[in-house]
C-alpha cells in the first residue's frame, strides 16, 4: 500500500508556486525601486507630519478638543468617555505611542477610502470589474497578514510604511464591498428616474447613487477604520512603533501590565473612532431624511 501511494505521489510534480511569487517580488524590488522609494517618502512624510500636528498641543488640550468633537457629533456620553479614555492614555504615559498609532491608522484609512470608494463604484457599474475585484478582495482579506508583510519589508524596508501598506491591504475590502453593495442596492426606479429626466450617467452617480448609497458607504468606512486599528499590533512588528510596539514589547518580556496598558489604549482609540465615524454616517443627507420618518 505504501509503495503505491509513494508511486502516486511521485507522479505529481511539485509546482514551484512560492518560488514564482518570490521571483516576482525580487523582480519588482529590482525594477520598481523608484516607485517604492517615492511611496515611502510620501507616506513617511504624511504620517510624520500628522504625528507632529497631533503632538503640537499639550495632551490634555487635545483631549479636550476631541471631547468637544465627540460632544458635537455624538453627545455627552461619548464626550465623557473621550475625556476619561484619553486622560487614561496620558496618565499611563502612552500618549506619544498612541498618537503615532492614531496617525498611522488615519493615514492608512484615508488611503484605503480613497482607493475603496472608486473601486467600489467601478465594481457596482460594471459586472466584469466586479467579477475581477471580488476574488482579489477575498485574497486580501483571507491571506494571513504576515505573508504580505514580508514582501512589504522588501519593498519599503522596516518602519511606518510597510505598516501602512499592510493596513491598507487588510482594511480595503469592506470599504470596496460596502460601496459596491450600497450603489447596487439603490432602488432601480430611482436610477430610472434620473435616466428618464435625461440626466447623464455622471449626474446620476453623483446626484442619486452616491447620496443614496451613503449610509452603506459610511458603514464601509467605519469597518475599514476598525480593521485598520486591528492591524496596529502587526504594524508594530515591522517596526512601525506606536501602541503596536508597546504591546509587542509586553508580549516579548511577558510583561502583563505593559501589554494590557497598550491593549487598552488601542481599544480607547477604536471606540472613539468607531463612534465618531458612525455618527458621521448618520449625518449624511439620506440617513437624516430617512431617520425623520
Amino acid at each position: 500500500m505504501t509503495l503505491t501511494t509513494e508511486a502516486l505521489d511521485d507522479t505529481l510534480p511539485r509546482v514551484p508556486w512560492g518560488e514564482w511569487f518570490e521571483t516576482g517580488v525580487t523582480w519588482l524590488t529590482e525594477h520598481g525601486g523608484f516607485v517604492f522609494d517615492g511611496v515611502t517618502t510620501a507616506v513617511e512624510g504624511v504620517v510624520d507630519g500628522l504625528v507632529d500636528v497631533l503632538m503640537l498641543p499639550p495632551p490634555l488640550v487635545l483631549t479636550a478638543i476631541l471631547a468637544l468633537l465627540a460632544l458635537f457629533l455624538r453627545g455627552w456620553k461619548l464626550a465623557v468617555f473621550t475625556l476619561l479614555g484619553f486622560g487614561l492614555i496620558e496618565s499611563i504615559e502612552l500618549w506619544s505611542d498612541a498618537m503615532d498609532s492614531l496617525a498611522l491608522v488615519l493615514v492608512a484609512a484615508l488611503v484605503s477610502v480613497l482607493l475603496a470608494i472608486p473601486i467600489g463604484i467601478a465594481a457596482a457599474r460594471n459586472d466584469t470589474v466586479s467579477r475581477i475585484v471580488r476574488p482579489v478582495l477575498d485574497l486580501m482579506q483571507t491571506m494571513p497578514a504576515f505573508v504580505y508583510l514580508i514582501p512589504a519589508i522588501f519593498f519599503f524596508s522596516v518602519g511606518v510604511v510597510p505598516g501602512v501598506v499592510a493596513t491598507v491591504i487588510f482594511s480595503l475590502p469592506p470599504g470596496v464591498r460596502l460601496t459596491e453593495l450600497g450603489i447596487r442596492g439603490v432602488d432601480r426606479e430611482m436610477v430610472e428616474a434620473g435616466e428618464a429626466f435625461g440626466a447623464t450617467p455622471r449626474g446620476i452617480l453623483t446626484g442619486i447613487q452616491v447620496p443614496l448609497a451613503m449610509p452603506s458607504i459610511m458603514a464601509g468606512v467605519n469597518q475599514l477604520i476598525m480593521l485598520s486599528l486591528s492591524m496596529v499590533v502587526i504594524a508594530g512588528m515591522v517596526g512601525a512603533g506606536g501602541l503596536g510596539g508597546v504591546v509587542l514589547d509586553g508580549i516579548n518580556r511577558v510583561n502583563i501590565a505593559k501589554g494590557f496598558e497598550g491593549g487598552t489604549a488601542v481599544v480607547v482609540l477604536a471606540i472613539f473612532l468607531d463612534r465618531i465615524t458612525s455618527a458621521l454616517g448618520d449625518r449624511s443627507a439620506v440617513a437624516r431624511a430617512t431617520a425623520k420618518v
Partner: protein
C-alpha cells in the same frame, strides 16, 4: 401627425434575442421561442398616441406593459421596430440626443414614486429642470407653480419621507409636469395607492389634463382605472396588444374571449353612458300642434305622455294625456300652456349609474339632450332595467361560451318615430 407612435415594437430579453425576433416574425410558436432561452416581453406592438390624449395600456402583470412604456423613452432598447416621438426615431438616436429628448419631450411618473429622499419636495419637483440646466430661481418658481397645481402648496420644504403616499405621487406628478414636456409616461402611477386616495389622484389627473392637455401614456392593471382615465385603451396580453379602442368599444365589442373575460367584472353602469343606451323617442309632438291632434297621437300610440319638441327638435317639455284630455274638455287652449318641465333632461355623457335615481322619480323616460337642448333620445325605465339584464346575460355568456359572440350587447333598439 401623432405625437407618439410605436411601429411593430418588439422586445425580447435574452442572449438570442435577435434570432428569437426573426423567428417570431416568421410566425414561430411560443414553445419554439422558449427553447431559445429568451423571454419575449413585447411582440409587434403598434399604436399612435394623439396630442392631448390619455392613452391607457392595460394588462395583467407580466403582460409586457412596463417593458413597453420603457421603450417609449428609450430606458430599454427595442429589439426591433421603431418608436417615433414627434417623427423622430428614438432608437436610432445617440445617447446625448436621447437625453435631450427625455429632457424636453418625455417625462415619467413612477409606480413607487421614485422621489429622491434626500431632496426637499421643491427640489424633487424641480429635478427635471435642474437636469436641463435651468437656473435655480426659474426652476424653483416653476416647481412651486406646479406643486400648487397638484395641491401641495406649503409642503415645498418638507422631505418626501414626511409625506403620505398620495402626496408623494402628487410630487411625482408635479416633477413630470414642471419639466414641461408634452408627453408624460405614467407607469402604474396610482397602483401603489389605496383605493380612496387613488380615486382622488385620478380626479386630479383628469382635472389637470383638462387644463394642460398633455399627451399621456398611462400603464395600469386596473380596468376600472383604465376605463375612467383612458380616452383610448390598449389591452395587452402576453406581450401583444390584443385590442385598442375607447372604453365603450372595448366593453361592448371585445375583440376576443380574453378581453371579454377581462371586462366581465367592470361596473358597466359607470362606463356606459346615456348616449349608448338611449332609444329613439316613441312619441313626440310638435309644439305647434293643437291639443286635439296631440291627444289623438297619444291615444294611437297608447302613450300616457309625450315629449313636446320645437321644429328644430329642441325639447320644450312633456305633456300627459290626462292633462290634454282635461284641457280639451274645458275648451280650446294652446298646447304650450299644458307643457310641464317635470323631467329635466340629461347630457349624453352621463354615466348610466346616475340615471337610475332619475328614472325612479318619474314614469316618463329620461330625455337626453345636447348642449343646444336638441332631443337626442330617451331612456325609458325598461331600457335601463334591460341594460342591467343584458349585462348579466352577457357576463354569463362570456363565462360559458368558448366562442364569444362578436355581436355587441348594444341596447339601442329600433323605435318608431311618429313625427318622421
Amino acid at each position: 401627425m401623432s405625437l407618439l407612435r410605436a411601429e411593430s415594437v418588439t422586445k425580447v430579453f435574452g442572449r438570442k434575442a435577435a434570432e428569437a425576433d426573426r423567428k417570431l416574425k416568421a410566425g414561430a410558436d411560443a414553445a419554439e421561442i422558449r427553447r431559445l432561452g429568451v423571454t419575449p416581453a413585447v411582440v409587434d406592438a403598434s399604436f399612435e398616441v394623439e396630442r392631448g390624449e390619455i392613452f391607457v395600456v392595460m394588462g395583467l402583470s407580466g403582460s409586457g406593459k412596463s417593458t413597453l412604456i420603457r421603450m417609449l423613452n428609450g430606458l430599454l432598447d427595442v429589439t426591433s421596430g421603431r418608436v417615433l416621438i414627434d417623427g423622430q426615431d428614438i432608437a436610432a438616436l445617440p445617447r446625448k440626443a436621447l437625453r435631450a429628448v427625455r429632457q424636453e419631450k418625455v417625462s415619467m411618473v413612477f409606480q413607487h414614486f421614485a422621489l429622491f429622499p434626500h431632496r426637499t419636495v421643491l427640489a424633487n419637483a424641480a429635478y427635471g429642470l435642474e437636469v436641463r440646466g435651468v437656473s435655480k430661481e426659474e426652476r424653483e418658481s416653476k416647481a412651486r407653480e406646479f406643486l400648487g397645481l397638484v395641491g401641495l402648496e406649503g409642503w415645498e420644504d418638507k422631505l418626501p419621507g414626511q409625506l403620505s403616499g398620495g402626496m408623494k405621487q402628487r410630487v411625482g406628478l408635479a416633477r413630470a409636469l414642471a419639466s414641461g414636456t408634452d408627453i408624460i409616461l405614467m407607469d402604474e402611477a396610482f397602483s401603489a395607492l389605496d383605493p380612496l386616495i387613488r380615486r382622488e389622484v385620478q380626479d386630479l389627473l383628469l382635472d389637470l389634463q383638462g387644463r394642460l392637455g398633455k399627451t399621456i401614456v398611462f400603464i395600469t392593471h386596473d380596468l376600472n382605472e383604465a376605463m375612467r382615465l383612458g380616452d383610448r385603451i390598449a389591452v395587452m396580453r402576453e406581450g401583444r396588444i390584443v385590442q385598442i379602442g375607447t372604453a365603450e368599444e372595448i366593453l361592448t365589442d371585445p375583440a376576443n374571449d380574453y378581453v371579454a373575460q377581462f371586462v366581465a367584472d367592470v361596473d358597466r353602469t359607470r362606463v356606459l353612458t346615456a348616449a349608448s343606451v338611449m332609444e329613439k323617442p316613441l312619441v313626440t309632438v310638435p309644439a305647434n300642434t293643437g291639443p286635439r291632434t296631440a291627444l289623438r297621437t297619444l291615444r294611437e300610440n297608447q302613450a300616457a305622455a309625450a315629449f313636446v319638441l320645437e321644429r328644430d327638435r329642441r325639447l320644450v317639455g312633456t305633456v300627459s294625456a290626462k292633462v290634454i284630455a282635461d284641457a280639451v274638455a274645458d275648451g280650446e287652449r294652446p298646447l304650450a300652456e299644458l307643457v310641464t318641465q317635470d323631467v329635466p333632461p340629461v347630457p349624453p355623457e352621463t354615466p348610466v349609474a346616475d340615471l337610475f335615481a332619475r328614472a325612479a322619480e318619474s314614469d316618463l323616460p329620461v330625455p337626453v339632450t345636447d348642449k343646444r337642448g336638441t332631443l337626442l333620445g330617451v331612456i325609458p325605465r325598461v331600457t335601463l332595467l334591460a341594460a342591467l339584464g343584458a349585462i348579466n346575460t352577457h357576463v354569463d355568456e362570456v363565462i360559458e361560451a368558448t366562442d364569444p359572440s362578436p355581436e355587441a350587447p348594444v341596447l339601442v333598439k329600433e323605435g318608431s318615430d311618429v313625427d318622421d
